[in-house]
């Protein structure tokens, strides 16, 4: 009976999502209630199933390829997180999306997204997992494409990037299945001791970090921030994709492969993490749009998680996982605040905002809490998870620690800028009549902000009950809850935050406005050139990829044309030449024909004689 409830977590959102597509646009109320109630049902189910251990298998393709599901510590936690975000963002979307087109589609995709992520979290068969994983890709395309008029271009970009990395992952799955002789995830445990297993790991890793939005697979996220509907940003890139990507990354590095501190892939992961942290946050600094700025942080923060898990030491892994849930919380909270501003003011362009704190006090408070949480201020949740990641990073090399801390400096700096530009300063006259957002949009923001606070102040709660049990015996007596162990690291963190504030005040002083508080970095001698190029999308890996593809296709077309010449050019030429030659021989002169016949007879006789 309970095992069947496991399936319900997929079936309920799946069916209500499919029904949603067929509801006519007029029945808005019914659609809204369907969205809210089925996401509520998912939440209740997730609470009911929380901390249970179940397995459930249905026949699928053939023996060895069954629809096998497994609920255990980790997956029940992920299920709960998905359902939590699903419900509250659904509540928010209902108001936010009013008056927009493609409601059926958006809500339908939304519910399917819950269904497919639950499918990923529950699958115990690698192929089944991938089946749900890639089905999610279709939703990604759909959800972005229903945004503004040009959104389909971004949707295509997202689809191509994620689709290509997913193909790598598919290859990785085939390879892993072949190497371990089974497709059951819970029975895999490969040592990373030769080239092929490392390749398999890297292929799977590409899929995982691309889903998480790490560099170099990130570049669709900032574009989606401006094109896609906002609840999508808050739900998918901020929350679900991080959960999916990091969940899978954890599974491959802890369960499916034996990653240790000695593995090369550990270094690779940490490098990817560190680069992602620093480059993305540097891009976030210079953004002039609320949502775009947040989207770069959505990229940057995933770097901390990858860095944490990549360290392969307990503190780092726990920190990475804790950061995953924390980031999902404050990042979706931040996006919701952006949505609230967008809905009430009509723009998220920071140049047109300012002074909204008085007009939208609740939104401002929620923003404030989530912003200090992401900046890693004590006693909010981001502080504790970052400290754990630092602790793991310093064990593996000071450079990683240094980059992570530097990233925090810029994070804090860019949020000071954002908060200052949007909520403080002078209120522009056009925005004088702005009101606070409505109740059902505020509720999700308030709840999320509260959870950020609770997960910080009472960090034993998530750490002891949600995260540390995932690692089980691997943790061996460690307990990472409570105040960070290393005091000097805390001191460094505080010093960095203090520097960020000082930097902000300095910037404000020379430029005179919050928005331009970071211009001294933007226009610093060397940085200015780089930033100019970055703004022209010179560094977008997607464009580079397309450039390479363009070269391949030009060469291909050349080969194709050359081959075509064989049939259209050469063979015609040969045939013409041959027939011309033979025609010359046929002059109509009998004596010549007679001579030919004689020669022919002689040849035949000759052959017969020789034989």
């Amino acid at each position: 009976m309970i095992a069947k409830a496991l399936l319900l977590t997929i079936i309920i959102p799946l069916f209500s999502g499919v029904i949603m597509f067929f509801l006519p646009e007029k029945l808005r109320r019914i659609k809204e209630s369907l969205l809210v109630f089925s996401s509520l049902a998912s939440l209740l189910l997730a609470i009911f199933l929380f901390q249970q251990k179940l397995t459930f298998t249905l026949p699928w393709i053939s023996p060895g390829l069954e629809l096998s599901f497994r609920l255990y510590q980790f997956s029940s936690f992920m299920l709960l997180a998905t359902a939590f975000f699903g419900f509250f963002i659904a509540l928010y979307s209902v108001v936010f999306m009013r008056g927009r087109n493609f409601l059926s589609q958006f809500y339908g995709y939304f519910l399917l997204a819950i269904a497919f992520s639950n499918g990923v979290f529950l699958s115990d068969n690698l192929l089944v997992l991938f089946f749900f994983w890639e089905a999610f890709l279709l939703l990604l395309f759909g959800m972005i494409a229903v945004g503004n008029k040009e959104a389909f271009k971004t949707a295509t970009k997202a689809f191509i990037i994620v689709g290509i990395t997913d193909l790598c992952m598919m290859l990785g799955i085939a390879l892993t299945g072949h190497l371990s002789g089974t497709m059951a995830i819970s029975r895999m445990n490969l040592p990373l001791n030769n080239g092929v297993t490392n390749l398999a790991f890297i292929l799977l890793m590409i899929g995982a970090i691309s889903k998480g939005g790490a560099m170099p697979f990130h570049s669709w996220i900032p574009d989606a921030a401006t094109d896609a509907p906002l609840p999508f940003m808050s739900f998918v890139p901020a929350a679900l994709e991080k959960l999916l990507g990091i969940y899978f990354l954890t599974r491959i590095s802890l369960d499916m492969f034996q990653m240790t501190t000695k593995s090369g892939v550990s270094i690779l992961l940490m490098t990817v993490g560190a680069i992602t942290i620093i480059l993305a946050v540097l891009m976030a600094l210079i953004q002039k749009d609320y949502k775009r700025l947040l989207s770069y942080h959505a990229v940057s923060q995933v770097g901390y998680m990858i860095l944490g898990i990549g360290t392969a030491v307990p503190a780092g892994i726990v920190g990475g996982l804790f950061h995953m849930i924390n980031n999902a919380l404050y990042k979706s909270g931040l996006f919701l605040s952006a949505g609230s501003v967008e809905k009430q003011v009509g723009t998220t362009n920071l140049e047109k905002l300012g002074g909204l704190a008085k007009k939208m006090p609740v939104t401002f408070t929620c923003f404030l809490i989530t912003a200090v949480a992401i900046s890693g201020v004590w006693p909010f949740n981001g502080f504790f998870s970052k400290e754990l990641v630092y602790e793991g990073a310093i064990e593996r090399g000071w450079i990683f620690y240094f980059i992570a801390v530097l990233g925090s400096f810029f994070t804090a700096a860019s949020f000071l800028k954002l908060g200052h530009a949007a909520f403080l300063g002078k209120l522009s006259p056009e925005n004088a009549k702005t009101k606070e957002a409505c109740f059902s949009m505020l509720i999700p923001m308030i709840v999320i902000a509260l959870v950020c606070l609770i997960f910080g102040v009472f960090n034993q709660l998530p750490l002891n009950h949600l995260i540390q049990p995932i690692l089980g015996i691997r943790l061996a007596g460690h307990n990472f809850s409570g105040f960070p162990a290393s005091i000097w690291m805390v001191v460094v963190t505080f010093a960095v935050l203090f520097l960020a504030v000082a930097n902000h005040l300095f910037g404000v002083k020379i430029k005179g406005s919050g928005l331009h508080a970071l211009d001294h970095i933007r226009y610093a001698p060397f940085m200015a050139k780089i930033y100019d190029l970055a703004e022209k999308r010179f560094f977008d890996p997607y464009n580079w990829g397309l450039g390479i593809v363009n070269i391949i296709s030009r060469i291909s077309l050349g080969i194709d044309k050359a081959v075509n010449w064989l049939s259209d050019g050469l063979s015609v030429w040969l045939a013409n030449g041959l027939s011309l030659g033979i025609r010359r021989l046929h002059t109509g002169n009998y004596s010549i024909y007679l001579a030919w016949s004689l020669v022919g007879m002689l040849v035949i006789f000759g052959v017969l004689v020789i034989l």
Partner: protein, 481 residues
């Protein structure tokens, strides 16, 4: 009904029926259309009836000896019935679509006659177990496709049809030399006999394999004999769907499986060489598809590229890869036929095939657009569409055989597939409306939507095609399940 009669019915109902069609048309054009559909559908239904029998592991052998080894030998095993089901199903949908599509053109008698004859000879080819019989049916398909590609009588169109005919017949004549060499060596054209003889006598030479491969590669439009296929895009869309996507190009693949997997084991050399040729073919054509601007040519290049994947799976030759390749034949047939038929709708309603001149059609033809996208997803190999499983299995089989580097070539091919299909979709259906067009007639829309749904169903209900293909592979490789 006797099972042998069933097999004969599958082949001869459309073959003989085809020649009755022009005569029927004297009374009613409508009746001719319906009869054509009925003949093809009856092949499909009779093939379905064979499934339980062949799945139980039995085979049907029909033999009628003639002089010089030109025996009339038919063999219905799992593989043959699998192929027959796919070809006749897709052909039936395509003929349904033709009702509306060709209704405003001349030469409809010829069209229906040739389509039905084509399917009949395809069925004959699928079931024949004698090399010469196979060759005869092979050439009938060449002749019918020559007429079908040249459906429009303008000079350039006719020239393209000639090209397709000349290239494939050039290939098949070379293949015929290969067949005769086999006869010299083994004394028979009958595949079961050849198999037995070769067991004791050793292998056939690489030269003979190469000769036969020329025929196979030219029919299946693989590098370097592929260029006739994009050129044949001048044909009416149902024809391109029939020839390029679903049926004709699968002949070569099928014959490869029939000869070189079931009966003759080629030298190991080919297990390395053929994947490379296929891989090159897959990348070159995918690259060309990215630059082309003619809608049908792009899809044709895509076919060449995907055929590469099928050859890859077959050439690897282990159980998983062959299984993947067989499923690929099914999934690709469904999805690609859908793409061509969608292209036909676009072409007919906007009067252009140039994708740079199209755009924004999703607003006026939503069903076509969605069907196109669904079929494209299947070709890309995105779950839950069927194409995913076939692509996955081919890769998986290749990895199991340890050919990692070739797999990476195909991975690039798969990347390019995603990119060019999206390029087409975006340029035709999204963005600014350049040429207005309306949705096609219900029967045409119904056929493309049904192909899209079949692609989706093939993914969700993968169990059934998988079981069927697995049975076929078991029989082919002699693995007893």
């Amino acid at each position: 009904m006797n099972y042998s009669t069933l097999v004969l019915g599958i082949i001869f109902i459309p073959v003989i029926g085809a020649f009755c069609l022009p005569w029927v048309a004297k009374f009613s054009g409508r009746l001719r259309n319906i009869l054509s559909f009925v003949f093809i559908l009856s092949s499909f239904i009779l093939s379905l009836k064979l499934i339980p029998f062949v799945l139980s592991g039995k085979t049907i052998l029909i033999q009628q000896p003639f002089a010089l080894g030109l025996n009339f030998t038919l063999l219905a095993d799992n593989l043959a019935v699998f192929m027959a089901c796919i070809s006749s199903l897709i052909s039936a949908v395509i003929v349904l679509y033709s009702f509306s599509y060709v209704s405003h053109y001349e030469n409809q008698n010829e069209y229906y006659c040739m389509v039905t004859l084509f399917l009949g000879s395809m069925m004959g080819l699928v079931f024949s177990a004698n090399l010469i019989l196979m060759y005869i049916f092979w050439e009938i398909t060449a002749i019918t496709s020559w007429r079908l590609i040249g459906f429009f009588r303008d000079k350039p169109y006719v020239l393209k049809a000639d090209k397709a005919f000349l290239v494939t017949v050039f290939g098949s004549l070379i293949m015929l030399i290969g067949f005769i060499s086999i006869y010299q060596q083994t004394g028979s054209f009958d595949l079961p006999v050849i198999k037995e003889v070769l067991k004791t006598q050793g292998n056939i030479s690489n030269l003979v394999v190469a000769l036969i491969l020329v025929g196979i590669l030219s029919k299946s439009a693989t590098l370097p004999f592929h260029t006739w296929l994009p050129d044949a895009g001048v044909a009416p869309s149902p024809v391109t769907a029939l020839l390029h996507a679903a049926v004709l190009v699968k002949i070569g693949v099928y014959v490869y499986a029939r000869i070189f997997i079931v009966n003759i084991t080629p030298d190991v050399l080919w297990h390395t060489l053929l994947p490379l040729i296929a891989g090159l073919s897959a990348i070159v054509s995918a690259g060309a598809a990215l630059i082309e601007t003619d809608l049908k040519r792009i899809i044709a290049y895509s076919t060449i590229s995907q055929i590469g994947f099928i050859f890859f799976g077959l050439a690897i030759g282990n159980e998983i890869a062959v299984l993947g390749a067989l499923l690929f034949i099914l999934m690709h047939g469904l999805a690609k036929a859908g793409l061509f038929l969608c292209a036909g709708i676009v072409e007919q309603n906007t009067k252009t095939k140039d994708i740079t001149k199209l755009g924004g059609l999703i607003s006026t033809m939503p069903f076509t657009a969605i069907a196109f996208l669904a079929c494209a997803f299947s070709v890309m190999g995105i779950p839950p569409f069927g194409g995913f499983f076939s692509k996955y299995l081919v890769f998986s089989g290749a990895l199991a055989s340890g050919r990692l580097w070739v797999v990476l070539i195909f991975l690039i091919g798969a990347f390019l597939t995603i990119i060019y299909l999206f390029r087409v979709f975006n340029m035709v259906f999204l963005g600014k409306v350049n040429v207005a067009g309306k949705e096609a007639s219900p029967v045409m829309v119904a056929s493309v939507v049904s192909l899209a749904l079949l692609s989706l169903a093939a993914g969700f209900l993968i169990y059934y095609p998988y079981k069927f293909a697995q049975g076929a592979v078991g029989q082919m490789l002699g693995v007893i399940k």
